[in-house]
């Protein structure tokens, strides 16, 4: 522990401490403000009714359903690819030119702005594959979001697989299991909390996403009938209601729902990470 600095250094010290608390304060102010402004408009009716007048009145039921469909579809496509990529990188290959290219591509993909994904999704999924995806639709949006969340899932899953003790793999192989059997029955279950964390963080990113979806998901306020119909997510709805109808109450209420979802996602992810760390440290000691 440090002693309290004197003189000029005291100001620097105070600035460092101040910054730390300022970050915390900013978070509390933003979340608290949205919450206080919006919570009064959140009611059972708001959650279960259809919107009227472009969302300026009425509820957000179709938007909630649309968000759930969108997230489910995105995870359904992105999770197998992302986890598969992580397994390949961690279990099936040595570091070399190909893994370097794959890692470079994944890192680059993580940094691409969402509006670029939007342009790409529009040109590729909405226009070029329009006969298959029916243009602006849940499917086009989910495919675009898949590209965006892939890096998150790959990275986190890879970390999870790395944390699985080597001894477990060796034991399984020594008992005569094939490589895939070892991965499927030993490595994946052991790393599962970490993999789930990656998927949940991916869900968080997909839920917060707006710019790319404006160009691919359509923005319809009707209850989506199939993956070939357009819909909108909560984030999109918040933006459209705030900017197009100017009804800030509805926007704040949607914001409250979004914040609650984000909080839930974060707590779940943290819980799973703790579980992974505990499980693997004890596994390593026991064996």
């Amino acid at each position: 522990m440090m002693t309290r600095p004197k003189g000029k250094e005291r100001f620097i010290y105070l600035f460092l401490v101040f910054s730390g608390y300022a970050t915390l304060t900013i978070l509390c102010v933003i979340m608290g403000y949205i919450f206080l402004k919006g919570i009064g408009h959140v009611s059972l009716d708001f959650l279960t009714q259809s919107p009227r007048k472009m969302g300026a009145e009425g509820g957000i039921f179709p938007v909630i359903v649309g968000t759930l469909y969108f997230v489910a579809l995105t995870v359904l496509i992105a999770a197998p690819i992302g986890v598969g990529a992580a397994i390949y990188l961690n279990e099936y290959t040595r570091e070399g030119t190909i893994t370097k290219i794959i890692r470079f591509g994944t890192e680059l993909l993580a940094g691409i702005p969402s509006i670029i994904f939007g342009l790409f999704g529009y040109a590729f999924f909405v226009v070029l594959l329009g006969d298959f995806t029916q243009g602006w639709s849940l499917l086009s949006g989910a495919l675009t979001a898949t590209c965006m969340v892939l890096p998150t899932i790959v990275r986190t899953s890879e970390e999870a697989l790395k944390s699985v003790p080597r001894a477990l793999r060796e034991a399984s192989l020594a008992l005569g299991a094939t490589k895939w059997q070892t991965i499927y029955k030993i490595v994946l279950p052991t790393g599962l909390p970490g993999i789930l964390t990656g998927i949940i963080l991916g869900i968080g990113r997909a839920i917060g996403e707006t710019a790319a979806l404006l160009l691919t998901l359509g923005g319809s306020l009707l209850l989506p009938q199939s993956i070939f119909h357009g819909t909108r997510t909560l984030s999109m709805h918040l933006y459209m209601v705030a900017m197009e109808t100017g009804n800030m109450d509805a926007a704040f209420a949607t914001g409250v729902i979004l914040i609650i979802i984000v909080l839930l996602i974060n707590f779940t992810a943290n819980y799973l990470i703790k579980k992974l760390i505990n499980r693997n440290s004890t596994a390593a000691i026991r064996r």
């Binding site: 250094e9 401490v17 101040f18 403000y33 690819i81 099936y92 691409i112 702005p113 059997q181």
Partner: protein, 313 residues
């Protein structure tokens, strides 16, 4: 006794699975690379005709953006993007670095245990929420400032609340987690012996932090800043909501921090909704410019951190 069916299940099937699984996993791993190539291909395919016919330099230096009249000067948005990014970095870097230092060097574990999850949450909040907060709180405050204290020196169209400065402040908050997380990691990665040696030689804790730890963590801090820059250049929704989306060059020197502005990202997102084919192509051309800036920044970070990592080994 094992019958043939059971034998198959135990010996043949796993081997067959082994042969199929590997190529499937390999394809999954290549998806990211494949997507990057596709993105580059489609953005360039759609946008390049405009750049080649209009001229790259004409586009970058043109001050008028009137896509309906086929005038595609993107200098106003380019200035807007960089102006807002600059303000965001000027505010975000000192606070971000200070918080990182506080967390890694000063904070008691318990306090750090509260602030760290808060930073994670800050990173997880959707950008539309920041935008909403920006319109209602920051822009209202800005309007108050512009119409009150500064009303004498600001032209009327600079008194709307929508401004470069609002955008910069919102982005500064949004890039804090990026800066803090990466800078803290790199500060923590500095070998303990460096710190102990500096303290043993009689330097104070603050001296040790600024003369030893920060220089040693330089490569990580630089990548934190460049990544934050990439994030603020690429941010769309929060900006659309607070900057006013006026494609005009700032005219009044330093006062133009109060001017409504536009950015590359905001223009694309707003105008794609109603653009005709030629206008769309122009927006894809804007996308090319954005893609190149971001790809350049990110490649720099990836190359830089890799080299830095090897040096430390």
């Amino acid at each position: 006794m094992l019958n043939k069916k059971k034998l198959n299940k135990r010996l043949v099937l796993p081997k067959a699975a082994e042969a199929i699984i590997r190529p499937i996993l390999f394809t999954s791993a290549l998806t990211a690379v494949f997507v990057i190539v596709l993105i580059a291909f489609f953005i360039f395919q759609k946008g390049w005709p405009v750049i080649s016919s209009y001229g790259l330099w004409n586009m970058l230096s043109g001050t008028v953006w009137q896509p309906t009249k086929e005038i595609y000067g993107i200098l106003p948005m380019l200035t807007g993007t960089f102006y807002i990014t600059l303000i965001a970095l000027l505010i975000g870097i000192p606070f971000g670095l200070a918080t990182a230092i506080y967390l890694s060097e000063i904070a008691p574990p318990r306090t750090a245990g509260i602030i760290r999850p808060a930073i994670e949450l800050l990173a997880a909040i959707p950008s539309v929420i920041y935008g909403l907060f920006g319109i209602v709180v920051i822009n209202t405050f800005m309007r108050y400032l512009q119409r009150g204290l500064l009303s004498g020196i600001l032209p009327p169209d600079y008194q709307l609340g929508y401004s470069v400065l609002s955008g910069g402040i919102v982005l500064a908050i949004m890039i804090l987690p990026t800066i803090i997380n990466i800078a803290e990691d790199s500060l923590k990665a500095v070998p303990r012996a460096y710190k102990e040696a500096a303290l043993a030689l009689g330097s104070t804790h603050i001296q040790t932090i600024f003369r030893v730890l920060i220089p040693a963590a330089k490569s990580g801090i630089v990548s934190a800043i460049v990544l934050a820059m990439g994030r603020s250049i690429g941010e769309t929704m929060a900006l659309i909501m607070v900057i006013g989306n006026v494609t005009a060059l700032p005219q009044h020197g330093l006062l133009s921090v109060f001017a409504p502005s536009s950015s590359l990202t905001a223009t694309i997102a707003l105008e794609m909704g109603y653009a005709g084919p030629q206008h769309q192509a122009a927006l894809f051309a804007v996308g090319i410019v954005l893609f190149c800036i971001i790809a350049l920044l990110n490649s720099f970070v990836i190359a830089f951190t890799r080299r830095g990592g090897q040096q430390q080994l």
